[in-house]
Symmetry: C2
Subunit: 261 residues, 2 copies
């Protein structure tokens, strides 16, 4: 080693994050506008003095909320998991919080190791708007036919080419084939909750899926139309893209526990 | 009748209101600061041209939310219930909404006819704060002993002098005796939900009650201490007053349906 050079062991840290997306331009860093990533990186800088890059498991768009986003970075600092948890929460704004922090093995890959991502979409299904749910749900006035919507949702399950469920063609995406494990709607009073679990999702896939399901629920299209949309494999065919503020990233699942010890 | 005088039939209208209390100085009109009442009166003025007074069933303090507040006014206008519902929602801000509107008999008394008021208080019982619940719950870090809290809550039920549960003596209040029908706590994940139902409440009674119950739940006082506080009948003895943003007026119950026809 040249004189003066110090080899520092880097530790990989995983954070479980909750955030209200209302005031953010999504998770990922952008030139203009505040993102969850830039806020977490700022907090890490304040806690450790390190200017580093934080990567997430499932990118959320502007306005989307998260109950259980997972993020990861490598640090030269020697802080305990407890210090990362409390210290970062101390520097983060009130609409972002670290729920848990773990030291993980260097081999851990936050995106490739994830076995599934769970999203929820909240519909407020009532003629009267709700002040308390307005930031966390999308209002649909007419009573939705959940039976028809659930029947269509069943056809999403399994491995399919979801080309019709992206808003536009993106040549950086190698494959539009995705595997959906679960897709189900449930009524809870005035709320209709859509839960969808997949290995991973295409951009806008969840919001274009629920947008199409709502068209079934309001009788605008049939279940056969829905299957036709799936089979056409044509970007922009599904939708409309429902508003971001009804969407929550609930959880990212990994095969084992996070802790490396 | 003197010449030119017109006797107008007034119609009594009842509104069921939902609001997020975050940005309001409570329900009732105040010289300084925006209140829910002033917003509703402004919307009525825009819809009917009438400058009138709106009365509520259960006054909520600054920052307290409501899922089912009930409000009442008399109007000379001939609008249908449907027009009041849609018209007022059109003029009200996004954090206040009319959920239902009814024409009621002149004899209806919004405060005296109410048989019970239902309140909920949400505690976020976790060491990590919650961005999504921060405006709708009060965080308590240490794990609460719900069994002890529920045992104490049982002693609230029935007719009692709740003097110890007001923050300070108020000579305008004729009696400090109130009848509590239900008082119960339940854990739902990280949330602890306190439900209390009474004929009516003293000012700050719910927040001073949950404040005292939290002290039992964290082991600061015993159930015997709690009973001692109740029996002392001394204003300011209970508490502390928990923050307003965890409190929701859920419902006001009346013996019959609202509709007059």
């Amino acid at each position: 080693l040249p004189d003066g050079e110090v080899v520092r062991d880097l530790t990989k840290i995983v954070l479980v994050l909750e955030y209200e997306g209302t005031n953010y331009c999504g998770f990922q860093f952008q030139e203009n506008g505040t993102t969850v990533q830039s806020e977490v990186e700022k907090a890490v800088l304040q806690l450790t003095g390190e200017s580093l890059r934080v990567v997430c498991a499932s990118r959320t768009d502007a306005g989307v909320h998260a109950k259980g986003q997972v993020a990861c970075f490598r640090t030269g600092s020697r802080h305990s998991e407890e210090t990362f948890l409390k210290g970062l929460n101390n520097y983060l704004p009130q609409d972002i919080a670290v729920k848990a922090a773990y030291k993980v093995d260097e081999s851990f890959n936050i995106q490739m190791d994830a076995i599934s991502r769970e999203y929820r979409y909240y519909i407020f299904n009532s003629p009267a708007r709700s002040p308390l749910w307005r930031k966390y749900s999308y209002q649909v006035v007419g009573k939705l036919d959940l039976e028809a919507m659930n029947e269509a949702a069943q056809s999403l399950i399994g491995e399919h080419d979801f080309s019709s469920f992206v808003t536009c063609f993106d040549e950086s995406v190698k494959s539009t084939v995705r595997t959906v494990h679960q897709a189900h709607l449930e009524r809870k009073g005035d709320l209709v909750v859509f839960e969808i679990v997949a290995r991973s999702f295409l951009r806008h896939q969840v919001r274009n899926t629920i947008g199409t399901l709502i068209r079934i629920g309001t009788g605008k299209i049939t279940i056969e139309d829905f299957q036709g949309i799936m089979e056409a494999k044509k970007p922009g065919l599904a939708g409309p893209t429902t508003p971001a503020h009804g969407l929550f990233l609930m959880r990212v699942n990994y095969p084992g526990p996070f802790r490396s010890e």
